[in-house]
Structure formats: structure tokens, C-alpha cells
């Protein structure tokens, strides 16, 4: 612990000028077109929404401690879970990795100065904030009770609350998503440094590319679905109204055409993050790079063809169920490829257990469970029994929270030195990573069982026999909440008191680590030239170099 303490008055000669010091006024932040600063702006906004969604989750878990409805009213409970779903899906999980890590890292990883359309990038943040304000208005005005799914005719004719404002907020947020997606696609196509061919792209960039395709093609369909809901509720146009011969199932088709791919919007970026973490801390080239790329591309296409597995009990034709069931099984294959390839990247590696690696290992475990339970839901007879129960709740939280949020935290730790130039306290970080894994498993595993036993979701009071599982889940949620808050505390602490990280504390190979940390406003002093593929942690076809200095020793950050 002999590092120099942070001195904000240190002259710039000591530390190279960084994007953080390029301007200190609020105005310099709010009018910036630097992708790195915009990523920071997004991070602040997302943290706020994560808190709001988390508070709603806490209310839900508290209410469910007992079978009776005692803490909240039925209406209050419905509003809490709707709020939790809407905020967490559209204001946290869907944007999470693309707008923060993606925004920050994609130009750095491909050797570009900035995103292709920097002003569009800033505009998309403002649109996102406008949507956020509308969402905040919805909450302050009392919320909605439709569930995040906005099913008709509940949402159009029967639900109380500000459905128009909530749907409007999600609608507006969609523009921000699409703008980010267009920007990422154009950036990856047009801004790659000389020599950065498609098959030299880091898998994180591939994750961003494939997710952007999904965002651009899926989000508008949701936007239209919500617009039609608003037209029916607000203007009285009978779009889905069964009384006039409308078909509520058509809304579900539209909704899930977006909302199933939305799961891939959350998980494809995580695939990218985990590939970076695993290779760096196993000091190993990724096993089967090309297959990893094809798997992501396959998911981003076939992921669009499986939405009907949300509708097996909806009254959809059973032949359509069969088709969707088949396609859902097909989409499981690339996910399996990814898990096996990460696992085999460990083989003959040089494995270190820094905090980001612990998050990555946790991710692989939780994602495997989440993915496998997806097979249950793809089987029509089993799905009929467990859909709309806690089994489904557990399944999608395993993917979207155990998976995507673990990956987000892992990526945040990994690139924290890049973003801030600081190191966080390693011991605390490892503790938080392990706690997050067990807290998560503790919270959501009981839900699989009670779902299978028949506990329906969105119930605020329930038969007493399910109480034991709810108590377990609520107790786990307490641990989990702590595991989510802890990193926020020490990461914030590290901004002021964390040790200087140096340019490349992990001795990682990505292009983003070849510039200073934090990077200068235009990313690279000279335009990088790329001559080889990613993950050169050891010469091709051999193991890692044993003579290499231990990165951890060099940093001297043993706990």
C-alpha cells in the first residue's frame, strides 16, 4: 500500500489529460458529445432507476413475507410490481450494458475517436431522460396496475392508473434505444481502425453489434403496440376491443415480438462482457472464437422466432404452439455453445480469481440454470403447468438478473480502472461478488419450487402452504440487496480514495487498454493499427507464458 494518495491538484504533467478533466462545468457535461462522458451520464441515470426499481422489489418481497395482504393494499401491490417491471426492464436492463459500457468501450475497442454520430448519441440520452421524467411522473401520480406486459383489454379499458403516461414513457424510451442501436451499428461498420477486420473484433463488440440489430428491429414493434394501446385507451379507437371483434391475442403477438427478443437485448451484451473477463483472467484465447460469433448472430436472428412460447396457454392455436416450441428448442443450442466455450477457455489457462472473474464464474453458473429452465418452458405440456407461476419468475430473473446484472457488475469492475483510472478495494469486491451469487441463488431458487407447486405470480395474498418459500426468498432478497449496494459504496469510495490503476492493471490485450486510463478526449494519441485478432494472451497454439510477471503482484493489490 505504498501508492500515492489522490491529489486533485496534481499537475496534468503527472497524469495525462483525460476525458474527465476536459471540462469541469455542468455545462461541459450536459453538452458533451464525447461517448465516454455520455456513458457516464447514462450510468448516473441508470443508477437512479435501479434504485427506484429496487425499492419496488423490496416492497414486493416485504409484502410476501406473510400469506395475508398486510403491508400493501391489493392495488398498492399491483402498482409496486408493475413499477418494478417497467422500470427494471426498460429503464435499467434493456439500456444497461449498451448505453454505459457499450457507449464507453466500443469506440475504444475498435480504435475509433468517437461514435459515428456523436450528437445523436447525446440526443438519445436526452430522450432517455425525457422518458425517465415521464416515468417519474407516472410514479408520482400514483402508478399503474397493468403489469409490465400491458395486456389488453386490461390496460385499455379496465385498469386504473396512468396507463397512458406509463406506456408513453416506454414509447419514448424506445426512441433512445433505437438511436443507440443505429449509432452502434454505424460505428462498428464505419469507424473501425485500419486492420480491425470483422473477425478481429473483440466478442464484446460482436455482442454490441448483434444486440443493436435486435434493438433496431424489435423496439419499433413494441412502440407500435404501445401506441395502439394508447390510441384505444386515450382516443377510444377500438383496436383490440373484443366487443367490436378485436383480438386481444394480436396485442400479445406484437408485444412478445419485442419482449422475447428483449431478453436477448439484455443477455447478448452480457455474453460479450463475460467473454472479455474470462479470457483476461484465464490468460487464454477464447475457445472457438468463430463459433462464439456465429452463436451470437444465430441468437439475434432465431431469437425473433420464438416469441409464441409466452402464449402457449393464451388460446393460441396448438399447431402454432408446436412451431414455437420447436424454434425455442433450436435457440437453446447457441446458448449451450457459449457456456461450453467459456468453460473450455479455462482449460490450460492461468486462472486468477480477481473480482471480475468471480462475477464471470457466477454468471456462467446462473446463466446455465436460467438457460436450462428455459427448456422446461419450451416444452408445451410443462409450460402449461408452470407458466404464469413463480417458476417463470425465477427463470427470467436467473437470466436477466442473475445473468445480465452479474455481467454488468463484472464488466463495471473490470473496466472501472479504465473509466476512472482508479482501483477499487479488491477484497470487498470479491466478497460482494460471492455474496451476489449466493444471495441471488437464495432468493430465486425457492421460486422454482413454489412455481412448480402451483404458486401463481402477481398474487399479493396467497395460500399459506407457500409461505415457507416466500420467507426464504424474501430473506435471500435482503442478502441480494446488500450485495448490490455494497459495490456502489466502495466504487464511489474509490473515486476519491482508490489507488491509481495505471493504464492496464489487468494486463489485458484489448485495444481499449492500449491508451491511457482514463482515456484522453479523443481516445488515442495516434490512430491504432491492428495486425492480429483479439485475446493474444499467449502465442497461438500454446499455453500462457510462464515467465510473465503476475499482474496482481505488479499492482500489489493482494487483499
Amino acid at each position: 500500500m505504498s501508492e500515492v494518495a489522490f491529489d486533485p491538484t496534481a499537475p496534468h504533467g503527472v497524469h495525462p489529460p483525460s476525458y474527465l478533466t476536459a471540462g469541469h462545468t455542468l455545462r461541459s457535461w450536459l453538452t458533451t458529445t464525447d461517448h465516454k462522458r455520455i456513458a457516464i451520464l447514462y450510468m448516473l441515470a441508470l443508477t437512479l432507476f435501479f434504485f427506484i426499481g429496487g425499492i419496488a422489489a423490496a416492497l414486493i418481497r416485504l409484502e410476501l413475507f406473510t400469506p395475508a395482504g398486510d403491508l400493501l393494499t391489493a392495488e398498492g401491490y399491483n402498482r409496486a410490481f408493475t413499477l418494478h417491471g417497467v422500470i427494471m426492464v426498460w429503464f435499467f436492463l434493456v439500456p444497461s450494458i449498451p448505453v454505459t459500457l457499450g457507449n464507453f468501450l466500443v469506440p475504444l475497442m475498435i480504435g475509433a475517436e468517437d461514435m459515428a454520430f456523436p450528437r445523436l448519441n447525446l440526443l438519445s440520452w436526452y430522450i432517455f431522460m425525457a422518458a425517465g421524467l415521464l416515468a417519474a411522473f407516472t410514479i408520482l401520480a400514483g402508478g399503474v396496475e397493468t403489469g409490465w406486459t400491458f395486456y389488453t383489454p386490461l390496460a385499455t379499458a379496465f385498469a386504473n392508473g396512468n396507463v397512458l403516461a406509463a406506456a408513453g414513457a416506454v414509447f419514448v424510451a424506445g426512441f433512445s434505444s433505437i438511436a443507440t442501436g443505429v449509432n452502434l451499428i454505424a460505428t462498428i461498420h464505419t469507424q473501425r481502425a485500419p486492420g480491425m477486420t470483422w473477425f478481429r473484433l473483440p466478442l464484446f463488440v460482436w455482442g454490441m453489434y448483434t444486440v443493436s440489430i435486435v434493438i433496431v428491429l424489435a423496439t419499433p414493434v413494441l412502440a407500435m403496440a404501445l401506441l395502439l394501446i394508447m390510441a384505444e385507451r386515450g382516443l377510444g379507437l377500438p383496436i383490440f376491443d373484443p366487443a367490436h371483434g378485436g383480438d386481444p391475442l394480436l396485442f400479445q403477438h406484437l408485444f412478445w415480438f419485442y419482449s422475447h427478443p428483449a431478453v436477448y437485448i439484455m443477455i447478448l451484451p452480457s455474453f460479450g462482457v463475460i467473454s472479455e473477463l474470462v479470457t483476461c483472467f484465464a490468460r487464454r484465447r477464447i475457445f472457438g472464437y468463430e463459433f462464439m460469433v456465429y452463436a451470437m448472430a444465430w441468437i439475434s436472428i432465431v431469437g425473433f422466432l420464438v416469441w409464441g412460447h409466452h402464449m402457449f396457454v393464451s388460446g393460441m392455436s396448438s399447431y402454432a404452439s408446436l412451431v414455437f416450441s420447436f424454434l425455442s428448442f433450436v435457440v437453446a443450442v447457441p446458448s449451450a455453445i457459449k457456456v461450453f466455450n467459456w468453460t473450455f477457455t479455462f482449460y490450460r489457462g492461468e486462472i486468477g480469481f480477481a473480482a471480475p472473474m468471480l462475477y464471470a464464474i457466477g454468471f456462467i453458473g446462473l446463466f446455465t440454470v436460467g438457460g436450462l429452465t428455459g427448456l422446461f418452458l419450451a416444452s408445451v405440456p410443462v409450460d402449461v403447468h408452470v407458466t404464469d407461476t413463480y417458476f417463470v419468475v425465477a427463470h427470467f430473473h436467473y437470466i436477466m438478473v442473475g445473468g445480465a446484472v452479474s455481467a454488468f457488475y463484472g464488466g463495471l469492475h473490470f473496466w472501472w480502472p479504465k473509466i476512472t483510472g482508479r482501483l477499487y478495494p479488491e477484497a470487498w469486491a470479491r466478497f460482494a461478488a460471492v455474496l451476489m451469487f449466493f444471495g441471488f441463488a437464495f432468493t430465486f431458487t425457492p421460486m422454482f419450487l413454489m412455481g412448480f407447486l402451483g404458486m401463481p405470480r402477481r398474487y399479493y395474498s396467497y395460500p399459506a402452504e407457500f409461505q415457507i418459500w416466500h420467507v426464504l426468498a424474501s430473506a435471500g432478497a435482503l442478502l441480494l440487496a446488500f450485495a448490490y449496494l455494497l459495490p456502489m459504496a466502495y466504487l464511489a469510495w474509490s473515486l476519491r480514495w482508490g489507488r491509481r490503476a495505471g493504464d492496464n492493471p489487468w494486463q489485458a490485450t484489448g485495444l481499449e487498454w492500449s491508451t491511457t486510463s482514463p482515456p484522453p478526449p479523443h481516445n488515442f494519441a495516434t490512430m491504432p493499427r491492428v495486425a492480429e485478432g483479439p485475446y493474444l494472451y499467449h502465442p497461438a497454439e500454446t499455453g500462457p507464458q510462464h515467465g510473465q510477471p503476475e499482474p496482481e503482484q505488479k499492482q500489489g493489490d493482494h487483499p
Binding site: 428491429l217 414493434v221 422466432l305 393460441m316 392455436s317 399447431y319
Partner: protein, 106 residues
């Protein structure tokens, strides 16, 4: 992205001569679809009208939107959404067209 765009025309006359025929074709197609709408085509009326619309769309895309330029990336971006539209329609139809009515005895 290596394709070069066509060298621009030097005068307004060349430009008009290149675009006005396209416009005339479009107006012709409009007249045709309007006339056909009043013919007793029966079940074919819908497909014929939509076919003419697709033709018009193709003319606009190729000439006005300059998709004739040999830029494969732009063509890919322009056509990919059509594949996804096909996904949306085909799989929804797989439900709608195979639904069976519930028999009620009483």
C-alpha cells in the same frame, strides 16, 4: 463501403430527364391500381392492389432512394427489415390460420 457514387450530373436538365420518367411511371401505376379497384376481381383484388403498391415501392426505392447504386451494405440494410416483417407475419399467421373453433354442444 468501397463503392463510389455515380458522378453527379452537371445540369438541371440531365437531372429532370433522369427523374421525371420515374414519376410518370409512378402516376401510371396509381391510375392502374385505381382503375383495377373498380373491376370485379373478387379475391384477387387485395393481392393485385398490394402487388402494384409493392411495384411502386420498388420503383421509389431503386430510383428515388438510389438503391440502384452498387452498394451491397445499403441494399442489405434496406432489405433486412423485409425479412423481419416476413417473420412477424408468417408466425402470427401460423396461429391465426390454424385456430379451430371451440365446439359447444349445449
Amino acid at each position: 463501403m468501397t463503392a463510389l457514387r455515380q458522378p453527379g450530373p452537371a445540369s438541371a436538365g440531365v437531372l429532370w430527364r433522369r427523374t421525371v420518367p420515374v414519376w410518370l411511371v409512378l402516376l401510371g401505376l396509381l391510375g392502374l391500381t385505381l382503375a383495377l379497384a373498380y373491376q370485379p376481381l373478387g379475391r384477387l383484388a387485395g393481392p393485385v392492389a398490394l402487388g402494384i403498391a409493392a411495384l411502386k415501392a420498388m420503383v421509389v426505392a431503386l430510383w428515388f432512394m438510389q438503391l440502384r447504386r452498387p452498394d451491397p451494405l445499403l441494399r442489405l440494410a434496406a432489405s433486412v427489415s423485409l425479412v423481419w416483417v416476413a417473420f412477424l407475419f408468417a408466425l402470427t399467421l401460423s396461429d391465426l390460420l390454424t385456430r379451430t373453433a371451440v365446439q359447444v354442444r349445449s
